[in-house]
Each structure stands twice: as structure tokens, then as C-alpha cells.
């Protein structure tokens, strides 16, 4: 248990509004494609908000048998499909005891919202006296982690991590530390969310923070966030073990930092962000000058984008002007508990392919947001280390550092 392993990423899987595989997702990120469009869920006419970043043309029946379909909410469909892709890419065999030493740690902010909404609509709107008998196993927040562990036969530590919009980043960070310390020999980790339901969108409407058209992170005239959904899952293992079995190393995770603002339930505090970013750099034994790219939390709200810019300036000082900082929420929306995982894969792409994804929908500078946000077009540039920022409601902050391998 005293081992200190370097931690390799050997697989990545994605279900997103701009692609149902990692390859399609990365291609769309490089093209600057938007996944935002009209909300198509049942009863969408009850909503004032007309757009979201839905995962479209996703047919769970292509992936699951009748029994599995009955057991799972959309949030688990996404998670299991992403996990299967990640594990297939890693090409890892969990036999001979590895299964018992593999962790499954999945972040989700709100769990099975489609189930919640459908079943509670029956009760309160349709006046029916009962819910479906599988309501609880579908909606519980740990269902995605459980379904992945069952689907792939992973018998080590398995649990959900919930920290709103930082859930996936916290989950991957904990998994990273467990693999680094030798507590587990492998981890399947990431985040999932399927939060586009009438009730959930109504609740976001009431907060008055959603843009009517598209999120424009860090841009002048930005009008807020747009809700997204999806899942991203990665496979982590000790670098030596991955090399020994001849696996392709996509990149290394080198640092993880976290903090709590202890201040306000919704308003972000840049001091908390600073401590999480500095924590990730310290954990990675890196200096500010070692970072080239930051995948920002970048929600597109007035408050987040100003605070995040201020935090980046405070940590990186004069190096801040050399950083590329972009928000892929401009393309995939804000997938809450999954967002950190979707964005981590964007950062992983940046170090692997040496291409930084853009912030699309950018109209021009806001005086309070004065960094290089890679406006509207992806950029080919050398990236050795990238950060992925997640700053959640509740003042919970998490930052991962990913390093190019080879």
C-alpha cells in the first residue's frame, strides 16, 4: 500500500450531445460543433426554456436487453455505454483477481431525473396511486456506478460521488489517488448525467441563469448557461502495469486539487478556485509555468466566468497571458455531474492530439474576462500539461492535471 504509481489513462468512452464515441466527440470538439438545440423531451411545451444540449439519436435498445432496459434510467444507459467503450479501448482483462482490485467511481449530480419526473408526474399530475416498482433502483444516485460494476463484473470499491457540477472531477480525482497509492490496481471512473426533464429544467428556469439561445462562456453579452447531458468514463491503471501488458497510454493524470469555498451556496468565490488549482499543481509537483491549456469550468454565467478569470490570473500571474483557456460547455452545454468528465476528455485530447478545443459562440471580449479563450476555432499548439476545472454550486471545487505521455 505504500506504492506511489504513475497513473496512466488507457481508455476513454463518451456519450455526448456532439458524439456517441470518444472519436466522434473529439472530432466535433475540433470542428467547434454545437450540440445545443430545441428540447425534444415529452411535455417540453410546458417549459419556457426552449434549448438544451440533448444526447440525440441514442437508442438504449441497441445496447441493452429487455431486462437491463427495465432496470436503468437514461443516466445509467449513458454511463454503461461510455464505460464499455473505455474498457474496450483499454483492452484490459479483469480476470485473475484484477476485478476485485478495480474501483468503479462515478460522479453524478442528480441521478435518475427522467425516472423521478415520469413517476412523480403519474402521482401528482395524473392522479395514479403508485409508481413503477423499479423506481428506486433506477433513480438512486449510485445506480450508474452499480450498473457499470454489474455490467463489467468489477468487484472492487464502487460508489457514487456527488458534488453537483464537480461530481465527475471529484470522482476521477479520488480514483486517481487510489490508483497512485496502490489502494486499487485499476479504476473505471468518470461522470454521468441525464438531467433534461421538465421538473429539472423548471427548477433551473426558476434560478434565472439560463441563456435562451446558447452559452457564450467568457464572452461579452453572455446570458448564462444551457443544460446538457451525457457521460464520460476513463480507465486508470499504474503506468508500469499498463506498459507491461502493452497497452496504449493515452496520457497521464499527474495532479488533483480540491477545496471548499465555505461561503455561499450559489455564488462562486475565486479564492476557493485558487486553492483547488494550486492544490492540483502542488499534487502534480508542477509550477504555474508548466501548464499550457486550461479547460475552464466556464458556465457562461456572469458570476462564474469573472471569478474563474480572476482565479486563473491570481494563480498564473504573468503566465496567465500565455495560457489557452477554453470552455467546451459552449458546445456540449452544462452536463452538471458529468461535465467534469466530458471536459477532462477534452483536456486529454488537447495533450494527446496537441489541439485545443475552442470556446464557440464567442462574440467579443468582456473587460472582466481578459484571457485567451481560444474563440470560435480550435487551435493546434504544443500542450504538455492541461488542467480541467470544475467549480460546483455549494462552493465545491475540483481540478485535475493531465500530462502528455511519450
Amino acid at each position: 500500500m505504500n506504492a506511489v504509481n504513475r497513473v496512466a489513462i488507457t481508455g476513454a468512452g463518451i456519450v455526448s450531445p456532439i458524439g456517441h464515441t470518444t472519436t466522434d466527440y473529439c472530432t466535433a470538439l475540433k470542428k467547434g460543433q454545437t450540440g445545443i438545440g430545441p428540447i425534444t423531451i415529452p411535455y417540453a411545451e410546458e417549459l419556457y426554456q426552449k434549448v438544451a444540449a440533448e444526447v440525440r439519436d441514442f437508442d438504449p435498445a441497441q445496447h441493452f436487453d429487455t431486462r437491463q432496459l427495465a432496470m436503468m434510467d437514461r443516466v445509467s444507459h449513458f454511463a454503461v455505454v461510455a464505460a464499455r467503450e473505455a474498457i474496450a479501448q483499454a483492452g484490459i482483462d479483469f480476470a485473475n483477481g484484477l476485478s476485485e482490485r478495480t474501483a468503479t467511481i462515478i460522479g453524478t449530480g442528480v441521478g435518475g431525473q427522467t425516472t423521478h419526473d415520469d413517476q412523480f408526474r403519474r402521482l401528482y399530475k395524473q392522479g395514479m396511486p403508485r409508481t413503477h416498482p423499479l423506481t428506486i433502483p433506477r433513480l438512486m444516485v449510485n445506480a450508474p456506478a452499480s450498473q457499470i460494476s454489474m455490467d463489467r463484473g468489477l468487484r472492487g470499491p464502487a460508489f457514487a460521488v456527488a458534488s453537483a457540477c464537480a461530481s465527475a472531477t471529484h470522482a476521477m480525482g479520488v480514483a486517481f489517488h487510489m490508483v497512485r497509492s496502490g489502494a486499487v490496481a485499476c479504476a473505471v471512473t468518470g461522470g454521468t448525467e441525464a438531467c433534461i426533464s421538465v421538473g429539472t429544467i423548471k427548477a433551473w428556469e426558476a434560478m434565472r441563469v439560463m441563456a435562451p439561445d446558447t452559452p457564450r462562456p467568457f464572452s461579452k453579452d453572455r446570458k448564462g448557461m444551457v443544460i446538457g447531458e451525457g457521460a464520460a468514463v476513463i480507465v486508470l491503471e499504474p503506468l508500469e502495469a499498463a506498459q507491461a501488458r502493452g497497452a496504449t497510454i493515452l496520457a497521464e493524470i499527474v495532479g488533483f486539487g480540491m477545496s471548499a469555498d465555505a461561503k455561499d451556496i450559489t455564488s462562486p468565490d475565486h479564492n476557493g478556485m485558487v486553492r483547488a488549482i494550486e492544490g492540483a499543481l502542488t499534487d502534480a509537483k508542477l509550477g504555474a509555468g508548466d501548464i499550457q491549456y486550461i479547460n475552464a469550468h466556464g458556465t457562461g454565467t456572469t458570476a462564474n466566468d469573472v471569478a474563474e478569470t480572476k482565479a486563473i490570473r491570481q494563480v498564473f500571474r504573468e503566465h496567465a497571458d500565455k495560457l489557452a483557456v477554453s470552455s467546451t460547455k459552449s458546445m456540449v452545454g452544462h452536463a452538471l455531474g458529468a461535465s467534469g468528465a466530458l471536459e477532462f476528455v477534452a483536456a486529454l485530447m488537447a495533450v494527446r492530439d496537441q489541439i485545443v478545443p475552442p470556446t464557440i459562440g464567442y462574440l467579443g471580449p468582456d473587460p472582466a474576462c481578459d484571457l485567451d479563450y481560444v474563440p470560435n476555432e480550435a487551435r493546434k499548439m504544443p500542450v504538455d500539461v492541461a488542467l480541467s476545472n470544475s467549480f460546483a454550486f455549494g462552493g465545491l471545487n475540483a481540478v485535475l492535471a493531465v500530462k502528455r505521455f511519450g
Binding site: Y48, A206, M207, R208, V209, M210, A211, P212, D221, R222, K223, G224, T266, S267, G300, T301, T302
Partner: protein, 82 residues
């Protein structure tokens, strides 16, 4: 002052820690914070059965600076119902 104006001012006053509200008062000066504003907007919507297209991120949203701005906006929305 119309009934709508009086009732609107009463709802605003609930969020001002008992300060008396004048039409020219700015919300920020009355100590109304962002979460108070969205609660207030919801109360006004429920009271008058209207939808207020308020976006907390819209810096051009000048309609909600003073108590008088809000009264005017609510009166328009209530009038538009009939």
C-alpha cells in the same frame, strides 16, 4: 397608486429587512441580494399569475434596477393578460 403597484411594493419590502420602499429606490441599495431577487420574481409571478422574463445574467436587464422599474414591468405584464 394602483393595487398592483401597492402589492408589488409589499412583496419587494418582504426582502428588504423591513426598510420602507420608495419607487426610486434601487434594489441593490435596499440590500436585496441575487437569491432574494429570484425569490421575489417567483412571488410576483405567483401573485399576479404572470411570467416575468427575467434573466439574472443579462447585464442589459435594466428593467429591474429600481422598485419603480419593477412596478412598471409588473403593471405591463398584468395589463397584457386581459
Amino acid at each position: 397608486m394602483s393595487d398592483v403597484a401597492a402589492e408589488t411594493l409589499a412583496i419587494i419590502a418582504k426582502h428588504t429587512k423591513d426598510k420602507k420602499v420608495e419607487l426610486t429606490d434601487k434594489l441593490a441599495d435596499l440590500g436585496v441580494e441575487s437569491l432574494d431577487v429570484i425569490e421575489m420574481v417567483m412571488e410576483l409571478e405567483e401573485k399576479f399569475d404572470i411570467h416575468i422574463p427575467f434573466n439574472a445574467n443579462d447585464t442589459e436587464m435594466k428593467d429591474f434596477q429600481t422598485a419603480g422599474d419593477i412596478v412598471t414591468a409588473i403593471e405591463k405584464l398584468v395589463a397584457a393578460k386581459t
